[in-house]
Amino acid sequence: MKPDLPKQGAPSGLSRRGFLTLCAGAGAGAAMPWRSFRAASRELKVPAHSWSRGEVIPSTCNMCVNRCGIQCHVVDGVLEKIDGDSRNPKTAGGTCAKGQAGIMALYDPDRITHPLIRVGNRGEGKWRRASWEEAFEYTADHIDKIIEKHGPEGLLFSSCTDLTEVFFIKFGKYLGTPNFARHATLCLASRNVGYFATMGGVPDADLVNAKYILMFGANRMESFELPHNRDLITGLQNGARLVVVDPRMTVTASKGEWLPIRPRTDMALTLALMHVLIKEDLYDREFVAGVTTGFEELKAHVKQYTPEWAEKETGIPARTIVRMAREMAAAAPAVVVYPGRRSSWYTNDAQFRRTLPMLMALLGAFDTRGASFFNAGKVKPGSFDWELEPVEVPPRFDGFDEEKFPLAHHEDGGYINLRDSILNGTGKYPVKGWMLYKQNTLASVADSAKTMRMMETMDFICAIDIQPSQTAWMADIILPETLYLERLDPLWTPSGTTQYVGIRQPVVKPQGEARTLLEILQGLGAALDKRREFETPFSEVFNFTMEDYVDAQLKKLPVDRATLAKEGLWIPPGQGLELGAYRSGSKQFKTPSGKIEFVSERFRRNGYDPLPVYEPVIEEPGRQRLVTGRYAWFTHASNQNNIWLNALHPENEVWINPDLAKEKKIEDGEYVKVRSPVGEIRIMAYVTPRIRKDTVFITHGFGTNSTGQTTLYGKGGADQVLMQDRADTISNNQALHETFVEIVML
């Protein structure tokens, strides 16, 4: 007997247009260009969600900086699904949650699809829609005014790493400003300085064949770097031993041995490991004698750093340190001492990073199977001929130069130094205009109140972005850029164990009036050309199309644009690594001595300790050190507003050790106040044994002030509100883990 029940469709009374509910809560569902649900065919027994796969267009992802190969299923001009490209040697068909959610970045109801000019106060969120013509005139007017008053050097250009960033930088250079601020000092500047001084570069790692992998904080299972995360998993299944040193148990740490180190004492561990290797005669004598310098000095230097001493500093038992050294020596040379990527941790970071290649060199774990190695890169696209030489520019306004930061990469700028120069009035000349290219400075530089004050000093702020990010929200004009799925980008090759040339190409038409960065700069350049005579007129500099640029890059390669567009990538013959040239001495390291330098000549010359000297940690009793990091489904502070990704993790939490929670009488899931010397946020507590009692963790990108980010607004708290503006003394890389906070019940 069949029960008398309503027929399908009746219970919810909703239409069969499947997609509408996908954007419920976002408000603008009806504008979504998704196909309506197709009724299931009884005869065919095909499920209701079936959709034709349409055209498959290969391209390159841009939801983070990994640039995975993707295949986009486009039906009637609508992107229905993104799959990984299984032919791609780097990603082998995989994508991550972010890559999958690229669809929602494309069809995000919060996306800016036409130029917006501010009408209310800065940050008030009152905008009016403008035509591109008006937007260019408006921006050119303001830039012109600043040039009139302060010269072109009165403009600051901030950008985030991407394939198109080159155009933005070139635009600033042809305009005549030396003042750039790039992503490096928010990320890996200190690591690069440490590694370049020691061995002339940052090595890649053969994680598949390694027997022992030591990672400091590096979180490859959540902060992806392909193919390293897949290689690491494969390496572990091949029997590698993984040790992760981190005050917080990341997913990466959960796959190996977790050493919950006392924060900021990492160098004590590396020094003690070197101490044991040398004392017990476990180091690689041949390698040390052959390709390193300064061993005797190192030996004398690390004598003081005993495992017993390190135990007191790090909280890691001396016997564990001795065991690690012995295990590493037994596995050598198939050992990877992993360089890590984001090294914006502590004020001594460049010195700490130096100890990693030193440890690696003692183990002889370089330029051989299962170890670190330099990847020369067999294939490289040609370069575009810019024809006109950029104009001569004055020195930077902020003194980020040879004198102040001799080892830093000066063109990249240093955010902490730069902001201080503006706020303290120590700059050599005023900077009054700020051009931003998808840089969310408010959410990514420590102490957002200071960034806010810096913005107040600006006469004009222009943001080129795809969404109303926290920073774009504070701008005077927002110029909407196309998403990676809507444009052709410069070609690129990965710098890793795999070699190919990949293409990023449009798979759908741009949403609304969004334009590519090149088109935006061409329009803006033309408007500027009308206002004044430049030595190198923009109409001449940017007198090319994206296709021209790509064709120039392809000149020396045996593949044309049409083939590349069809295939998505070009794999040169003869993959595989050639190892041993550095070991045998036929290749030299790019250091003053041509060898791996235990005693850094570059550091000595510039007045830094030539051997890493440990400084004891100063703690603040009763308060916790704040650390930050990644979840696998968010990139920096860029896609927390993505509907699909936000659904995975609607708001961030502060991780609190259960013992601390007990003392503070804080329950899991309760909202608490986190207070630092520079700010205060309200945030949910996540009581977990995955963190030390003296440390708390908050991830990035929440607590937005932009009401334009409708999915994200009102959720979680911003770590950058709390963080103090410390920086690594050598590279000016910001030091995000130098702030102590207090957890208070609400």
């Binding site: 399908q8 996908l22 009884r42 499920p47 209701a48 959960s254 993790h649 995955r690």
Partner: protein, 251 residues
């Protein structure tokens, strides 16, 4: 040995017994000898999935890939990931259990359905729902011991994972399998002893979720940490189960 969760659901167990479905229970068999699975030597495929939790990092590529592929409404999930934290500082373990419909050979959801042809097992072993025939009585949603079914507000019908039949017919792997860049999932024909999945099952210790329910799942796990979101936190032992499926009920 019974699974701890079974104690929490006396009603359902009674219910299943009434239907006679529980009589086929593989009592206590948390690990299945792999060869036994491939004994049925038919030409027809029987699809199954093997999830190697050692390779899983809980990145949710599968969760979002599934949503994109199958147009799953927000707050509903065909594919989700549970993350399990156990222990006390510093001896903590963290494990992930990617979840989906288990495509059972003895599916209680099919047994309880009052309609003919609304939900059934296809020849290839995939349990499917015909939303046109489903009357939306929700019995199957309640009967599933894996909470794999939900009511789709768009169709008014029950909904769940179907191994992406649409992709299979076009020679593609299910979306969750294709997107997994750590290659934690293997999909294939359990009837073919030479398939990758059969070989993996034959050479590894595998287990299924809730074997005591007698559902004979066709989704297998390596390294399964067998607790799911229905479990309560055992006293005196720290255990946290997080899943994006319950975000709205969180805390």
């Amino acid at each position: 040995m019974t699974h701890p969760t079974s104690k929490l659901r006396p009603q359902r167990r009674e219910f299943l017994k009434g239907l006679g479905a529980a009589s086929a229970a593989v009592a206590g068999a948390t690990t299945l000898p792999g060869k036994a699975l491939a004994t049925v030597s038919e030409k027809k495929p029987r699809y199954g999935m093997l999830i190697d939790t050692r390779r899983c990092v809980g990145c949710h590529a599968c969760s979002v890939s599934c949503r994109a592929e199958n147009k799953v409404p927000m707050k509903k999930h065909r594919s989700w990931v549970e993350s399990l934290e156990r222990g006390t500082f510093p001896d903590v373990t963290l494990n992930f259990v990617p979840r989906l419909c288990n495509q059972c050979s003895e599916p209680p959801c099919v047994a309880i359905c009052p309609e003919e042809n609304a939900t059934y097992i296809r020849d290839d072993g995939i349990v499917v729902i015909d939303p046109e025939t489903c009357v939306g009585c929700k019995r199957c949603v309640r009967a599933c011991p894996y909470n794999a079914r939900f009511m789709n507000p768009d169709t008014g019908a029950a909904d769940k994972c179907d191994f992406c039949i649409d992709r299979l017919t076009q020679g593609m792997e299910p979306a969750c399998v294709a997107s997994c860049f750590n290659k934690a999932r293997i999909f294939g024909d359990l009837n073919d002893p030479d398939s990758a999945i059969s070989r993996m099952i034959a050479t590894n210790t595998v287990s299924v979720l809730h074997p005591d329910e007698g559902t004979k799942p066709n989704v297998f796990y390596i390294g399964l940490d067998e607790v799911d979101e229905n479990d309560i936190r055992p006293p005196e032992q720290y255990l946290r189960i997080t899943t994006q499926r319950k975000q709205n009920l969180r805390r």
